[in-house]
């Protein structure tokens, strides 16, 4: 009885999860689908070809988003790793850790509005550097909090041991600390990449429409009610997270376990 119940419910749940993604892909391949037609008049790769033709700028947005997210993820992960160590050894580490939660108290749009004056003064408004900086301000505290659990007395003892065995600072990092933190570094990199990839509020305010990341493009198509392009850009939007999820599952979690 129990087995029969599982046999029906589980495939149904899988279908439920997969349906939005399949439907998005279907919509991205469709065109001229008007009420009361059951199926679209056009079904093919026309929408996808437009990506390459640069008519919509989706390919540029995709590449720009990839560049921005990679920059944010690399800088946040590495700075989070090193600065979390300094915070761990700091006499006021509890206050510093608490301060790291501050950017998450405010909504990203409100946070961006608060920062906009400084960005304007620094000439960071409406350019890629400004967007990277703004997204860094969100993802860096995440990395700091993420790595705060890595540092402890045992890690300190490992560092001391390497020193007395004759190792210098580089040896400590490259031969022991990085290998020990490898799994965490990869997870943090993926997480901060995703934070940056899906960031909308900060990017739209600091980018002022000039920096059109793929997330901004999705909202733009939805606002224009161009749901075929909207679906296509959504496919592009979820493509990197799906790849990262796959890598996470295949390599990272296996190693951590």
């Amino acid at each position: 009885m129990y087995k029969n119940w599982r046999a029906y419910v589980l495939p149904f749940l899988v279908l439920l999860v997969l349906f939005p993604f399949t439907y998005l892909l279907f919509l991205s391949l469709s065109g001229a689908w008007y009420y009361p037609d059951v199926l679209p008049k056009y079904f093919g790769l026309r929408n996808w070809r437009t990506i390459l033709s640069s008519e919509t700028g989706l390919l540029q947005s995709f590449l720009m988003s990839t560049g921005i997210s990679l920059a944010v993820a690399i800088v946040s992960t590495l700075s989070g790793f090193f600065i979390s160590k300094t915070v761990y050894y700091h006499p006021h580490k509890r206050i510093l850790n608490l301060l790291a939660y501050l950017p998450y108290i405010l909504a990203p749009v409100v946070f961006a509005a608060c920062l906009s004056y400084f960005f304007l003064k620094l000439g960071l408004f409406g350019n890629v550097t400004g967007v990277i900086t703004a997204q860094f301000l969100i993802s860096f505290p995440y990395a700091l909090i993420f790595f705060s659990s890595f540092w402890n007395e045992r890690i300190k003892n490992y560092e001391n041991l390497v020193s007395t065995l004759g190792g210098n600072t580089l040896d400590r990092y490259f031969k022991v600390l990085f290998p020990l933190a490898k799994g965490l570094l990869l997870v943090c990199f993926f997480q901060t990449y995703l934070i940056s990839w899906f960031e909308y509020g900060l990017t739209s305010i600091i980018g002022v429409g000039k920096v059109q990341t793929i997330t901004i493009k999705v909202f733009m198509f939805i606002k224009e009610a161009n749901y075929f392009y909207g679906a296509l850009s959504c496919c592009l939007l979820i493509f990197p997270p799906v790849v990262l999820l796959y890598i996470n599952k295949k390599y990272v979690f296996k190693k951590i376990a």
Binding site: R154, N157, Y158, N160, L161, V162, S163, T164, L165, G166, G167, N168, D171, K175, V176, P179, L180, K182
Partner: protein
Amino acid sequence: MFLEVNNLNKKFNKEHVVEALSFELEKQKTLSILGKSGCGKTTMLKMISGLVNPDSGNVFLDGNEVTLLKPEQRNMVYLYQEDLLFPHLTIFENIAFGLRLKKINSKAIKDQVDQMAHSLELHNQLDKMPHQLSGGQRQRVSFGRAIIINPSVLLLDEPFGSLDSGTRQRMQSLFKNLTREYKITSLFITHDLKEAILMGDKIGFMQNGNLHVYESKQDFLNDPTTGVNQEINFWKSLQIEAGSELKNTINE
């Protein structure tokens, strides 16, 4: 003297942890150090190894002052109670770690690690990962990793504290053999009276941040402040009690 410690002082939050600490140690000798928790034993070892800077005082090694040298320049290995094997490296690579830091060629590393593995009776375990070994085996690897680089002084902070009594006894005898074979000079911190007497050529007792090194083991046994006599009396009384109980049973 090979190791000379002169008037070392260290304060943490205005509290004297180590105060006017001085002692000397000959080459290839082991000094066992006893003392209650919090009396400054670990701080003393960390100051000698360079992991903690003293507020004042000097450390001399073979006539050269090393007080201001970084830990990696002193050639003194500090061993913790935990084995601290690197979990991402095999047993071979763990033992070879210090040699790789010295950039010794691979052939020489292999020869030295193989020889050390034989001394430690670990020659069949070299390809394994640390989590595949028992507590005693892991501690042996930790010793091998330290001794293979031929340190001037080995600083041991309760190295057998986490082992069961059987493994502890085997490790004590192994350590004695290794100190003879590799001519090691060491400072050995322990809470165990018997271990201190067994392992040390000399015995020191640390109290309130100050270390007193006894001239002979007999001097140590005769000193009432160490609590050795109390312990001896405890075991004697237990023996007498057991003896009289046995007598009563026979009489009945």
